[in-house]
C-alpha cells in the first residue's frame, strides 16, 4: 500500500480509495445503515482516469443492488429506494425533515410541488413508523409510506 502510494504520487497522479462491490462499477456505496447484505470489499483503484472496470453502464442500470445492468431505470418510488445508499439518505432526510433525497423520492412518486411540504412533514412525524428497525428493507419502507399516505387527506391521491 505504502509502496503503491509512493509510486503513484511520484508519477504525479492522484490516488484515492474507491469502494466497489464485485458486481461492477459504482455498485457499492458500502457500509449501509439499512442494506447490510451487500457488503463491499475495499479495493484500491486509482481514479485518475475516471474510469470504470468491466462494462460501461449506459443508462440501463437499476435493480436492487444498483449493479444490475438489465432493465431501464424507471425511478418509481420503490426502485429509487432500492438503489444502494438511497434508503439511508431518505432516512436521514426523514429524520431531519427535509433534503434532496426526500425531494427526489417525492418527485419520483409524482407528488406535486405544493404538496411536498406535507410529504416531508409526514415523513418527519412518522419516522419511527416508517423505519421501525435498523435493518428494514426498501420494500417495507415503501409499504409503510404508502399506508401513511393513504390515511393522509392531501397525499392519499398519490397512492
Amino acid at each position: 500500500m505504502k509502496k503503491v502510494l509512493l509510486a503513484t504520487a511520484l508519477l504525479g497522479a492522484s490516488f484515492s480509495v474507491q469502494a466497489a462491490a464485485p458486481g461492477g462499477p459504482g455498485c457499492g456505496w458500502g457500509n449501509l445503515l439499512f442494506e447490510g447484505k451487500s457488503g463491499t470489499g475495499m479495493h484500491l483503484l486509482a481514479t485518475v482516469f475516471n474510469g470504470s472496470t468491466g462494462n460501461a453502464t449506459f443508462g440501463m442500470s437499476s435493480g436492487t443492488n444498483g449493479c444490475d445492468t438489465s432493465g431501464a431505470l424507471t425511478y418509481s418510488g420503490e426502485s429509487l429506494l432500492s438503489m444502494n445508499g438511497v434508503l439511508e439518505e431518505v432516512a436521514q432526510d426523514a429524520a431531519t425533515g427535509n433534503g434532496e433525497a426526500l425531494t427526489a423520492l417525492s418527485v419520483s412518486m409524482g407528488i406535486q410541488t405544493e404538496d411536498r411540504a406535507q410529504f416531508n412533514a409526514l415523513m418527519h412525524q412518522n419516522f419511527a413508523a416508517i423505519f421501525p428497525r435498523q435493518d428494514v428493507s426498501a420494500g417495507e419502507v415503501m409499504q409503510n409510506i404508502t399506508a401513511l399516505m393513504q390515511k393522509d387527506q392531501t397525499l392519499a391521491k398519490y397512492v
Binding site: A19, G30, E35, G39, S52, D135
Partner: protein, 605 residues
C-alpha cells in the same frame, strides 16, 4: 440511338455528380464533423481524422479518415428503416433534415433505442466539476462530467451523469495502470449513470465539493447530445490523461449540440478540466453556478455552528446515543439538541463511510436518527465562503527573483509546469494542499555564469487538519535536483517524504512531520545516502496574505547533519500575479548561510 444512350449516360453521371457535390458540401458541415468526432486541429494526434478508435462506429471502410465517404455510406445505409438507423439516430436526423427525408416515425422499428430514449431525456444540461480534495492533491487537476436534468430543479438525484473515462482492467497493477493511462493504452468510453451515484462517489466517499454549471443549451441542442450519446454506446476512443480526457470529450459533445462555439478551435497539449470551465464561461455558455458541499464540509459547518461544550457533547453522543437521556443533554433547548444530534449522526456516518456494515454502527446510527426525528426540524448550517475553482490562478507559472546569499547578489528565473504550492494565491484552491510538477530555477550571480539552482520533478504536500471529528494523515513527497551543502554548495539529487499531522485554529495551521531523505551527490561516498529527520511548521492565511514558517532537518547515515529554516510570505497581487518574499537559513555542522529573496510570480494558462 447512340446519341440517346450517350445522353442518358451523361445525364446519369451529371445527376450523380450533382448529388455528390451536394453531399460533399454537407460532409464539410461542422455538425457532421462533430458527429464523427473529427479532430479539427485541437490536439496533435489524429489531426483531421476521427478520434473514435472503433470500427463499429463507421459505415464506410475509411470512414475515420474520410467524412465524405462516411456520409455517402451513411446516406445509403440510413435511407431505409433498418438496423443501422437504430444505431445512428443523430446521424439520421442530420441527414434527413439536410436531404429532406420525411418519415413521420423513423425509429418505429427500434425498440431498444425507443425504450432507452424514453428513460433518458433532459430539459437542462449541467457541467459538473468535482473539486480537489485533501489527501489527494493531484485531484487538483480535477474532473468534469455532464449532468442531464429531467426537469425539476431540486430533484437532481433523478438526473443522469454522462461520464467519459478509461476502461481499465482490475488485473493491472497500479504502476502499469498509470503508465497505460498516460500513454494511451486504455480505451475510453462514455457511460451514463444516475447522478446520485456520482454524488455518492465524490461528495460522500471522497469528500470532494462539487461545482455545477448550467449550460446555455436549449431543448433541441440537448436532444442532439442525447441522440448522439446513443451512437457512442460501447464505442471506444483512445484515452489520454493529458489531452484526450474526460473534459475534452465533453467539449466534443457540446460541439455536437452547438457547432461553431469555437471550444475546439485552439490547439492544446493538455485539457485541464478547470480550463474547460473557464473556456465555456468565456464563451458565455454558462448561465448559472451551484455549489454542492461535500459531506465532510457539511459536517464541518455543523461542527462550527456549535459551542465548544456542545461540540464535545455531540462527539460523546456519537459514541453513546444513550447520552440523549442525560441531564447534560436535556438541559439544552430543543433546537440546539437537534443540531448536536445531527452533528453526531453525520460524524458517525462520515467516519464509517468506507467500512462494511456492522450491526453496532448501524444500531448507533439508527438510534441517532430516531433521536433526530423526535427533535424539531432545523435549518442546516450552510457551508459558505468557498471560491469556485475557475477563480484560481493559472496552471503554469514563470517567476523572476532577486536576492542575496551569504553576501553574494543573485538574479533568478523560474518556470513551473504545474500547479500550486502552499504559498501560491489560494483563491479557488484547497488550503494546505500542494502539487508541483517540473519546476525549474536558473540562478545567475555577479561572479559566475547562470547555473541550474533547482529542478523539482515532483513536490506534493497534503496537510489535512485534524479535529474532534476527523483524524487524517498529513504527508509529503518531493524529489529532484537542488543545491545543498556537501563540502561546498553543490547540486544534489534527492528524494524525500514524510508523514505526520496538522491542525487548524482560525487562520493558523501548524504541522509536524517525520521525514526521510535519500540523497546522491558527488561528495558523499555512498551512491545513495539515506537520512532521517523531521519538519515542523506553521501556515497562516489571512485575505491575500499567506505566510509560512518552517524548519526541517535531516541526519544522514554518514554522520552529516543539515537543517533549513524558512520564513516566507506571499501577497496575491491579483488572480494571476503574486509577490513573494522569503528568508532562508541553511545550516550544517560547522557553518551556515542565509538567503533573502524577493520574487514576482506570474501564473498563466
Amino acid at each position: 440511338m447512340r446519341t440517346g444512350l450517350l445522353c442518358l449516360l451523361f445525364c446519369l453521371l451529371a445527376g450523380v455528380t450533382r448529388a455528390d457535390d451536394g453531399l460533399a458540401t454537407l460532409a464539410k458541415q461542422p455538425r457532421w464533423h462533430a458527429l464523427l468526432h473529427i479532430n479539427p486541429g485541437a490536439t496533435l494526434r489524429d489531426r483531421h481524422r476521427s478520434y473514435v478508435d472503433d470500427d463499429n462506429f463507421f459505415l464506410a471502410e475509411h470512414g475515420a479518415d474520410d467524412p465524405f465517404a462516411e456520409l455517402r455510406a451513411s446516406v445509403a445505409a440510413l435511407r431505409e428503416p433498418g438496423a443501422e438507423r437504430c444505431r445512428f439516430p443523430a446521424r439520421y436526423r442530420f441527414i434527413a433534415t439536410s436531404l429532406g427525408w420525411h418519415d413521420p416515425q423513423p425509429f418505429a422499428h427500434c425498440a431498444d433505442y425507443l425504450q432507452w430514449r424514453a428513460s433518458v431525456h433532459a430539459k437542462r444540461a449541467v457541467l459538473v466539476f468535482p473539486a480537489a480534495y485533501l489527501n489527494s492533491p493531484s485531484s487538483m487537476f480535477g474532473h468534469t462530467l455532464l449532468r442531464l436534468d429531467q426537469g425539476e430543479d431540486s430533484a437532481v438525484w433523478l438526473s443522469w451523469a454522462v461520464n467519459f473515462g478509461a476502461m481499465t482492467s482490475e488485473q493491472d497493477n497500479s504502476l502499469f495502470y498509470m503508465y497505460r493511462g498516460l500513454a494511451g493504452g486504455y480505451p475510453g468510453q462514455f457511460n451514463l449513470v444516475p447522478y446520485l451515484k456520482k454524488i455518492q462517489e465524490y461528495s460522500h466517499m471522497e469528500s470532494r465539493d462539487m461545482w455545477e454549471y448550467s449550460l446555455d443549451l436549449n431543448q433541441a441542442q440537448i436532444d442532439w447530445i442525447i441522440d448522439h450519446l446513443w451512437e457512442l454506446k460501447e464505442i471506444n476512443f483512445d484515452y489520454y490523461f493529458f489531452d484526450e480526457n474526460c473534459s475534452f470529450r465533453l467539449l466534443e459533445l457540446i460541439e455536437v449540440a452547438r457547432p461553431g462555439t469555437g471550444v475546439l478551435d485552439e490547439l492544446r497539449f493538455a485539457e485541464l478540466p478547470v480550463n474547460t470551465v473557464r473556456s465555456l464561461d468565456q464563451r458565455g455558455l454558462i448561465t448559472e453556478r451551484h455549489y454542492r458541499p461535500s459531506k465532510q464540509v457539511e459536517l464541518e459547518a455543523f461542527s462550527e455552528g456549535l459551542s465548544a461544550d456542545e461540540r464535545s457533547l455531540a462527539r460523546a453522543l456519537a459514541d453513546d446515543p444513550g447520552l440523549a437521556d442525560s441531564d447534560a443533554f436535556r438541559a439544552y433547548p430543543a433546537e440546539r439538541r437537534a443540531l448536536m444530534a445531527q452533528t453526531a449522526y453525520r460524524y458517525v456516518r462520515f467516519v464509517h463511510r468506507k467500512e462494511d456494515r456492522s450491526e453496532a454502527v448501524a444500531g448507533q446510527s439508527f438510534a441517532l436518527l430516531r433521536l433526530i426525528s423526535t427533535l424539531p426540524a432545523v435549518a442546516p448550517p450552510r457551508a459558505t465562503g468557498k471560491a469556485p475553482p475557475e477563480s484560481g490562478h493559472g496552471s503554469q507559472m514563470i517567476a523572476a527573483a532577486a536576492g542575496q546569499l551569504g553576501g553574494d547578489d543573485f538574479g533568478e528565473f523560474s518556470y513551473r509546469l504545474t500547479y500550486h504550492d502552499l504559498l501560491d494565491n489560494s483563491l479557488g484552491f484547497p488550503e494546505g494542499a500542494q502539487i508541483q510538477g517540473l519546476g525549474l530555477t536558473v540562478r545567475s550571480t555577479e561572479s559566475g555564469a547562470p547555473e541550474l539552482e533547482e529542478l523539482q520533478l515532483v513536490g506534493i504536500r497534503s496537510f489535512s487538519p485534524r479535529d474532534q471529528f476527523a483524524k487524517p494523515l498529513s504527508w509529503y513527497v518531493e524529489g529532484g535536483l537542488e543545491r545543498a551543502w556537501a563540502g561546498r554548495r553543490r547540486l544534489v539529487r534527492y528524494l524525500q517524504g514524510g508523514a505526520g499531522a496538522s491542525w487548524r485554529y482560525g487562520g493558523w495551521q501548524p504541522y509536524l512531520l517525520a521525514s526521510a531523505r535519500a540523497e546522491n551527490n558527488s561528495e558523499f561516498s555512498e551512491v545513495v545516502t539515506p537520512g532521517g529527520g523531521g519538519e515542523a511548521g506553521m501556515l497562516y492565511h489571512a485575505g491575500r496574505w499567506q505566510w509560512q514558517l518552517s524548519t526541517a532537518g535531516h541526519y544522514f547515515t554518514n554522520d552529516v547533519y543539515r537543517h533549513r529554516s524558512r520564513l516566507a510570505v506571499q501577497y496575491a497581487l491579483s488572480q494571476q500575479q503574486g509577490l513573494r518574499a522569503q528568508v532562508e537559513r541553511e545550516g550544517w555542522r560547522g557553518g551556515d548561510d542565509t538567503e533573502f529573496k524577493l520574487q514576482w510570480r506570474w501564473y498563466y494558462d
